[in-house]
């Protein structure tokens, strides 16, 4: 009764992760090209502080120059788990399905991340690890850095794709000067 359901879920996950893999790892394929690519610390001449609250960012817009590399210092000041993810709206939408799965499997539980669950082998070499260079997923009180190069102009948002958060308005606009 139960095992067929699990297989279905695992299959769905690997499909979605595979689809996502192509989309966000920067470097010139898929949608990732529009959002930019991981930057080198030495190229960043500016630090932008992003504070994550329940459920919104401060600030909600940032302005960058095409080609600029920015160091983001992201702090979770809320009581819930939040993400800071740089991408196009389409990429965010695809990623939201994965995050939904993380919630369904207990990898994200309100204010906590279950790291063991995220490491778990889901088959086909897939896991729910959240280690893409364009995003960080933080528990309350945690902070992290992302160095990102906005290679060229595009429709880019930073967003929290924890289920419901983006829809409720936890996103910000990247405006190009």
């Amino acid at each position: 009764m139960i095992s067929p359901r699990l297989i279905v879920a695992a299959t769905a996950m690997s499909i979605s992760f595979t689809a996502f893999g192509g989309g966000t790892h920067g470097g010139g394929h898929g949608h990732g090209a529009n959002a930019g690519e991981p930057g080198k610390a030495g190229d960043a001449n500016r630090t932008v502080s992003i504070k994550m609250y329940d459920n919104y960012y401060e600030p909600e817009t940032i302005a960058v120059n095409p080609g600029e590399t920015v160091r983001f210092v992201v702090q979770n000041k809320g009581q819930l788990v939040h993400e800071f993810n740089i991408g196009t709206p389409d990429v965010h939408e695809a990623h939201q399905k994965e995050m939904m799965m993380m919630v369904e499997h207990g990898a994200i539980q309100g204010g906590k991340l279950n790291h063991d669950m995220m490491e778990m082998d889901m088959g086909d070499g897939q896991s729910m690890k959240h280690d893409d260079p364009n995003s960080v997923l933080l528990e309350p009180g945690e902070s992290a850095e992302i160095i990102w190069t906005f290679s060229k102009q595009g429709n880019i948002e930073f967003a929290c794709n924890v289920p419901g958060h983006y829809q409720a308005g936890m996103y910000g606009d990247v405006n190009f000067n």
Partner: protein
Amino acid sequence: MKKTLVAGALSLLIPAIGLAAEYNLTVDRVKIDTGEFVKEGVGYNGKSPGPVLRFKEGEEVSINVTNNLDEMTSIHWHGLILPFEQDGVPGISFPGIKPGETFTYKFPITQSGTYWFHSHSGFQEPEGAFGSIIIEPEGREPFRYDREYVVQLTDKHPHSSERVMRNLKVTPDYYNRKQQTVGEFFSDASENGFLSTVKERLAWGGMRMMQADVEDLQGFTGMINGKSPKQNWTGIFEPGERIRLRFINSSAMTYFDIRIPGLEMTVVQADGNNVQPVNVDEFRIGVAETYDVIVRPKDEQAYTIFAESKGRSGYARATLATEEGMEAAVPELREPARLTMADMGGMSGMDHGDMPGMDHGDMAENDEMAGMDHSNMANMDHGSMAMPEAGPSDPFYAEGSGLVPTAANGGKFLSYADLKAQKPLYEQREPAREIELRLTGNMERYTWSINGVKYEDADPIRLKYGERVRFKFVNETMMTHPMHLHGMWSILDVGAGQWNPVKHTVSVQPGTTVYMETEVDASGQWAFHCHLTYHMAAGMFRKVIVEGGPESTQAASSEQSSNAGGDV
């Protein structure tokens, strides 16, 4: 010494004056036009529904209510936390407002969110005496939107409420058209065997309930913001905008299942309190509940807001469109849900101690009746009962219930179990005691009660200021009861500890046990009742008295203020 006191008093007064706001409401006889029938009713400022009252958290409001009726009236501010004398329940908070009289309500606004107001006198509320309240928070909201609309639902019946009540008393199934027919009996008999079908029918009869009792009032027209499905209330948007819809169910008796085909809805608030956002395709709104959702239509087209009654006997309909006059397809009504034997799990003679609600996790999946004490059920043969196998499940419905709602598109249907507070309102602590409230009734005589005793014959429930109490609702009837405690929050136990959502109205499904906790932080006396109009009128109602607390001195402070200085 006196001088400083005066200065102190003045400094207290100044911010209050700065934020004071005055509102005027008249209570009037109105005509309500559904497009199918026109009915005399009661409204505010000449209309039903009445106006949207917009308050700001932190302000002190004065609301002048002028009674233009030839009978007593009152206004209850549903879900608002305020001194009990301002709560508007005749006989509990105050005597009521006489014909021709103007009564001024005065209270501070200490919360934010979507609420509503309605008469608490006679049947004025089902006759149209309600409106909506929007309270803007002091700080920013934990979500964003470009536009907002109130979507206030009601179930307008062509009969007057007094006539409905009379008919229900004489013939409880007067408005229930979905009774099982002789034909269905024979088809059940051929599927399940004659004997088991007869036994099952006898069992239903023994409970003085009818299997199709999902709704006890049918024949209404569903209305949204005063418009019938034909009149089609329309909210305008620009593609790509986020729209906050503030759903309020002001129905007398009707639960609605709400969906907007083509749009996902993100639930961000329930009963005025923010919840952690949940994406859903459909949700059920109980009588007196409110849900705020955010939708984001990206295309330049019309979308139908479709609100089907729980028993599928009627619907309300409205439209979101980029231009007035645009329409989208209106779905067909789905097949009505049917109660199963599991939905009477709470009926007397069964041990419901470990029934559903929260703790059936250990029940065997295919044995829906597990957890009941079969030994007390003398004349029922469980083995031969027809039970739906592996139907949809929801921890807030009886295991094996025929009432569990599912989304029309096969997607996500909101459950109470999905509601988590966005920010806990109270520190988590153990309740001092538990109070069991059995929700009871006799469908054949249309009597509704709590612990088998109707309001007139009951002692008040006494609570102590400062305690936290746990209420255990045991629904022994086959109707859903939206239980509403005035004056204090109902912290619904969804098993999420400090993240349990805070509500003002808690629906208890047939055959289930539901727990809620209350921080007793408001002294005075309050109403506590089922919000179904005719159940409340029949006696499913209690007075709650909160003993002690600072308010007992504060209540008298207006008379004492002039000599307060002398005591210091």
